[in-house]
């Protein structure tokens, strides 16, 4: 990316953040909901779920963080679709700003929003008994993986926002991304799920991600899970960026 494109993306990301700060719904969805969900999981379901000798709150935090990435990404789809529907995209295009910086601005704003949500969730988690054993390197790796995942789902969501004709439809398209963490080891161990789900749960991107984050946070061996998670994200990101470039050209023909 050229310096110009970087400045453009940064300015657009600033705009995206300002827009979401003024939108109470978005603030609640992206900051409060993840915290509330964690409390629900820990206090309502936690007692019924056997996670071995790990406390449930420690077990579930990575899952909640991944889930909240999905919520944040849903916001990307809605704001992209909103820009496309109004005259905004026309003005940007006459300023010779292409589809990629426009979407990258929204994605960057989502990543920043999500980083805040992540910090908030971690803070509350500590208060209610989350006791990770991670090394500093483990923390960095876990947070890094999470950011890569957030970026990936936001780009997928941005592409969905281009595909959808209305912001409401865009919200619906991203439902899938919010759903993805459930059939994985995010909230309950996979071996407690019905047999037919094992195949999917073990071979979807969220499982290696959760396994790596949990392993890194508890300072346990993670094997090649981080690499599998990264490979998934890289492939999905490449698809999302290519698809959104093509969709943008198609929508603005």
């Amino acid at each position: 990316m050229s310096a110009d494109a970087l400045t453009t993306t940064a300015v657009l990301a600033g705009r995206g953040l300002r827009l979401s700060r003024r939108n109470l719904d978005a603030v609640i969805t992206s900051l409060m909901l993840p915290v509330l969900l964690m409390l629900v999981f820990v206090y309502f379901f936690g007692g019924a779920i056997d996670t071995g000798d790990t406390r449930y709150v420690t077990y579930v935090v990575p899952g909640v963080l991944v889930l909240c990435a999905g919520f944040g990404a849903a916001g990307t789809a809605v704001s992209v679709s909103d820009d496309m529907r109004r005259g905004t995209v026309d003005r940007f295009r006459t300023l010779d700003i292409g589809g990629v910086p426009i979407l990258a601005g929204h994605v960057a704003a989502t990543v920043v929003r999500n980083a805040l949500a992540t910090a908030l969730v971690l803070g509350v988690a500590f208060l209610i008994g989350f006791r990770p054993a991670a090394t500093p390197g483990g923390w960095l790796a876990a947070i890094g993986l999470l950011l890569v995942y957030i970026t990936t789902v936001s780009w997928l969501s941005a592409a969905a926002g281009l595909l959808a004709r209305t912001p409401e439809a865009a919200g619906a398209v991203t439902f899938f991304m919010m759903f993805l963490p459930y059939p994985s080891s995010a909230f309950v161990p996979i071996d407690t799920m019905p047999d037919w789900l094992h195949g999917f749960a073990e071979h979807q991107p969220v499982t290696p991600l959760i396994e790596s984050m949990r392993g890194l946070l508890l300072d346990r061996p993670v094997g090649d899970a981080p690499w599998i998670a990264l490979a998934w994200c890289a492939a999905l990101l490449a698809v999302a960026v290519a698809a959104s470039g093509a969709l943008f050209r198609f929508r603005t023909k």
Binding site: V11, R15, R86, G87, D90, R93, T94
Partner: protein, 324 residues
Amino acid sequence: MPPAIETTGLSKSYGTVRVLDALDLRVETGTVFALLGPNGAGKTTTVRILATLTAPDGGHARVAGHDVVTERRAVRRAISLTGQYAAVDETLTGAENLRTTARLSGLSRTAAARRTDELLDRFRLTDARDRQVKTYSGGMRRRLDLAAGLVRDPGTTRVVFLDEPTTGLDPRSRQELWDAVRELSAHGTTVFLTTQYLEEADRLAHRIAVLGDGRTLAEGTPAELKDRYAGHRLDLTARDPEAYLRLTARAGDGTGAPGTPDPGTLTLGVPTDGTAAHVRALLDALDPHRADIERFALHTATLDDVFLSLTHRESPAKEPARVR
């Protein structure tokens, strides 16, 4: 000097609707050009093609010397656009909107702040600068949108497109926009605007084109158009239904100009240039015995009149009109 805008045989269809059908336009550098037309005539489509936002199906268009399809980037560097529908963010403040647009058009942080202040001042939005746009009135929002369209350095912007810039503005704001347009043109910037108001085109534009059936129905200076197509309309009210029939018969047989009959009110509208001599001549021609006309009223022509007059003259002879 090459023209700022030149189109040849420009055409565009949406599905089976042929919006533009071999449109030819030429706009000289530094002039104000107004494109007139009723709803759905294709004004916005024309602006979008010229501003590189939509690709034409056929024909060519050059803006600031560059082809709008093959040299898109060069065109974009030379233009700015305020579209028909607002492109400002409702939940940002007026100042934030302008600053963002200024930064996006390549100004540095300090230059963007300075330009924002200038534009807020020029469009009387300084008091509302830190309020969210959703609290603005319709006219304020329109003014902000226009300001955002003019954010670029006027020195590098060579063609400014304004799609119905004054729709929804009160007279004072309209006047201010007109001043801004004149100022741009005085600096050598070409302004291409669309409007529904003949008066606006009349006051502002060096040349006017009337769009209809996907092509130019008429093109010329405001004075030329008025000369050619009725600057005023004379409404004649007949004494009784028989008198009305006699009047319409005389108007139709070439004695007078073709008129617009309204049997309900026994009124016949006739185009005129509004001079005493022509009105007197018309009255004499249509009512030689001074018995049929009860009252008359003289109106300044509206866009409707020009249209009626244009379609009236052109529709029976569509083909010759095209040969020119």
